[in-house]
Symmetry: C2
Subunit: 119 residues, 2 copies
């Protein structure tokens, strides 16, 4: 058995990353969590208006990947906060690099706050 | 008309980037081009075995986005090289950040060559 068999497509660390967040929404959710959003309704309320089934599915996946943990903050009805683990917080440099590229090549794109780009 | 109407989802530079390469394959193709691959068959031959219809579609999209240019190098039959523009070369820091995260969190993932990580 090749040592790469543990991986979905290959042992390339870029590919391994994309197997987790290579889609149009996951990194948007991580952006919001890094910006301090914590609840389902805060996440659903972003300007991009993520479809709620996508949001629910991605939050479940991110929890399974150890990128966030779910913490109940209300019991009736049950409500949860979504908190980034270190693995989740460590996605920030990826988002910073994408934001830098986006600001260079998409004229009129929003300039992220300084704390986001320089943390 | 809001100034954001020019964008697909929002003016967020992260979202703008993901609207281009937010999928499982586009950044894998850019990885290969940054590593010196130039032809369709070289790109199709990577360990991840991208389906050829996906490869053709992504190359067309990347050309339309100004991320690569196509250059004919043979006329019978017609064959093309795919060369990164500056916009394409500037994706490298994004790949470096993903590779760093991947190497941290996917045990046994390949360590990219030093020139790739430090350029």
């Amino acid at each position: 058995m090749s040592p790469d068999n543990q991986f979905l497509r290959s042992g390339c660390p870029i590919v391994n990353g994309l197997d987790v967040f290579g889609d149009k929404w996951t990194l948007v959710i991580l952006r919001d969590l890094l910006c301090g959003k914590e609840t389902y309704s805060e996440l659903a309320d972003s300007p991009e208006k993520i479809p709620t089934n996508r949001l629910a599915e991605r939050l479940k996946m991110l929890e399974a990947e150890g990128i966030l943990v779910r913490e109940q903050y209300q019991s009736k009805p049950k409500r949860y906060k979504y908190l980034l683990t270190q693995k989740g917080k460590d996605v920030l440099p990826i988002l910073q690099a994408i934001a830098k590229w986006g600001n260079t090549y998409f004229e009129g794109s929003w300039i992220p706050p300084k704390w986001f780009m320089e943390t």
